[in-house]
């Protein structure tokens, strides 16, 4: 069943969404069917695109809205929210 879920999270990674943390997030995001979007200060990024996630320039403490729509949206949000809140390394 097509579903859309949305959650606001505070970015926990010490170095923001830099190369390594961004790569970890994107790899996880790619494992889901759903469309995954990150929004920071009106800027939108495709959660499955390393380039667009990097271009957000997100830093530790930033508020990020995570929007997920698709069949596995519920599973995806449960997996990805803790990822953004924790320290991705």
């Amino acid at each position: 069943m097509e579903k859309t879920v949305e959650r606001t999270v505070t970015l926990g990674s010490k170095s923001g969404l830099h190369a390594r943390p961004a790569a970890i997030f994107v790899q996880q995001a790619k494992s889901f069917q759903s469309q995954i979007t990150l929004v920071k200060d009106e800027r939108t990024a495709n959660g499955k695109s390393i380039l667009s996630v990097l271009a957000l320039g997100a830093e530790q403490g930033n508020q990020i809205v995570l929007k997920i729509s698709g069949d596995d949206a519920e599973t995806a949000i449960n997996k990805l929210v803790p990822l953004l809140e924790g320290d991705l390394g």
């Binding site: 830099h18 190369a19 390594r20 790569a23 495709n46 695109s49």
Partner: protein
């Protein structure tokens, strides 16, 4: 026949065919497609698949830092937005080449505009990815694969590009840009590959298969040599090889003076490839691992550093002395905000920067080293030390890291700590460091520069510095009087005329570029300790 003069970057002689690496002609960003949209889109998708296959091949052959760069580039190649952006431009009439170049440039500009040097540095990666796809579209894909002994001629070569090549087939390197002290020069010296840099119009005069003679000692490149020059070079090459075979007997024996005093001969390295070379040349350990070389793309994480240190230590099976990051205003690192300084050699660098930024710079490296030292003989060396207080502060941080690791369940054990002696302040007061450090290593290049107040990058005054001058030698004498075990890891350590003086004054470890190890052992074997002491006394200039 043409003779070109450049800058001697790494010694050695080579004769052989050139392989030119030319910068690709720029893409016309306004170029329109000549075929139907679906055909052009097909070309693009095909090119991305090919570029991906090439990167996977390169990645398999790469190690460490280089493997990380290639992994990041692969991730970008596989990016859905990159592909989608290009497909949209093709739909509106653009050629595939122009489309991918425009989308790559757009992301590169976005990343470059972020107020973060680390992300800004990633913009180079996406440009490189764009170039790789364009090369596939044009059918000029650029995997450098050497199939025969080759002299590489390029505009510039990053150490990463060099690291991916087979050192057995790479005979020599010629570049249009670069300096004698640049990264390329140091890496080439470590791999024992002759290099001449700064030949400004090399690519306009050389083609692939052109025969070259590269004289890395004198910085001379001869294009299409006549038979007389070629015979002469080949004769010299045979002599050098004979000399090498003669030196081989020194490889497997320790560094000993004629009367049997043991002076350890160690190697200076900056990469895993150089560690392998050090083992091959018979180094008894590594006296200086320049870790700033693994930070060219930004400071690696604790995990990445742990992997590098463990891999190198396992390759060596002998002591590995790791110098903590020696970075500063003249060696910028992506992701670290180091302001430009009027006098970077007298500025915020080495241990000063490490102690001021413990969380970002010093502690992750110390944690990685302590973890690796649990299973390998790894020792830590601090750069640019001037006072015992700096060592006390560093010790406190090392103890803090060690306790934290133990709490986290890691096995740790005490690790030996040493300092670089490269300031007159440390040289004159080394006795005050007794009990704080286990060893010290003289960085002669910097010590000479600070003692004679001569900037070694300034060609006008460079010759005024006196590595073997009385001032330098008296400082070495003072250092050895401290009773702390003393090594030398600067250029002096491989100079045959300096070796007797250093050993005569009390130095018991010489750390040199891997290729020089056998020659240093030979120089040690030429004189007894007594004879070296007598030479040192004369050189000290005492009446």
């Amino acid at each position: 026949m043409t003779v070109l003069r450049g800058i001697a970057a790494a010694p050695g002689l080579a004769v052989g065919p050139a392989l030119t690496l030319r910068p690709a002609p720029p893409v016309d960003l306004a170029e329109q497609r000549a075929v139907a949209e679906s055909v052009e889109t097909g070309r693009l998708v095909q090119a991305i698949v090919q570029a991906m296959a090439l990167l996977e091949r390169l990645q398999k052959a790469a190690q460490g830092q280089l493997a990380d760069i290639l992994a990041a580039q692969r991730e970008m190649l596989d990016d859905p937005e990159l592909k989608q952006g290009a497909i949209e431009l093709i739909a509106s009439g653009s050629s595939a080449e122009a489309a991918i170049a425009r989308v790559a440039a757009r992301y590169a500009d976005q990343l470059a505009s972020l107020p973060d040097a680390y992300l800004a540095a990633r913009s180079e990666d996406i440009r490189e990815v764009g170039r790789r796809i364009v090369a596939e579209l044009r059918g000029t894909s650029t995997a450098i694969v050497l199939t025969q002994p080759t002299i590489l001629v390029a505009q510039d070569l990053a150490p990463a590009e060099l690291a991916g090549l087979d050192p057995a087939l790479l005979q020599a390197i010629v570049t249009e840009t670069g300096s004698a002290t640049g990264h390329l020069a140091i890496v080439a010296q470590g791999l024992d590959i002759p290099a001449v840099v700064g030949i400004t119009d090399a690519l306009s005069q050389v083609d692939t298969s052109t025969t070259l003679i590269v004289d890395g000692e004198n910085g001379i490149v001869t294009i299409n040599p006549d038979s007389e020059r070629r015979d002469e070079a080949e004769k010299r090459l045979r002599e050098v090889q004979r000399e090498r075979r003669h030196l081989e007997i020194y490889r497997d024996r320790p560094g000993l003076t004629a009367d049997g005093t043991w002076v350890e001969v160690f190697a200076n390295i900056g990469s895993l490839a150089e560690a392998r070379k050090a083992v091959e040349m018979g180094a008894e350990g590594v006296g200086l691992f320049r870790t700033e070389f693994i930070a060219a793309q930004g400071l690696p994480s604790e995990e990445a550093q742990y992997a590098i240190y463990t891999e190198i230590a396992a390759t060596l099976c002998s002591p590995l002395i790791v110098r903590t990051f020696d970075i500063g205003g003249d060696k910028p690192v992506p992701g670290l905000d180091i302001p430009a300084e009027a006098n970077p050699f007298l500025g915020w660098r080495g241990i000063r920067l490490g102690l001021d930024q413990p969380e970002k710079v010093f502690l992750p490296q110390i944690r990685a080293l302590l973890r690796a030292a649990a299973t390998h003989d790894i020792r830590i060396m601090l750069p640019m030390v001037t006072t015992p207080q700096e060592v006390e502060a560093a010790r406190a941080l090392i103890n803090q890291a060690s306790l934290a690791l133990a709490r986290e369940g890691y096995e740790t054990r005490p690790v030996r700590l040493g300092i670089m002696v490269e300031t007159p302040a440390a040289a004159l007061t080394l006795d005050l460091f007794t009990g704080l450090i286990d060893f010290a290593s003289i960085g002669t290049n910097d010590l000479v520069q600070y003692t004679y107040a001569v900037d070694r990058t300034n060609a006008r005054v460079r010759a005024r510095a006196q590595p073997l001058g009385v001032a330098t030698l008296r400082l070495v004498q003072q250092i050895c009087l401290s009773g702390i075990p003393i090594a030398v890891c600067g250029q002096m350590a491989s100079d045959p005329s300096a070796i007797p003086l250093l050993v005569g004054l009390g130095v018991r470890e010489l750390s040199v570029s891997p290729a020089r190890v056998p020659a240093v052992k030979q120089a040690l074997a030429a004189l007894t300790l007594e004879e070296m002491r007598a030479r040192a006394q004369i050189a000290l200039g005492s009446s």
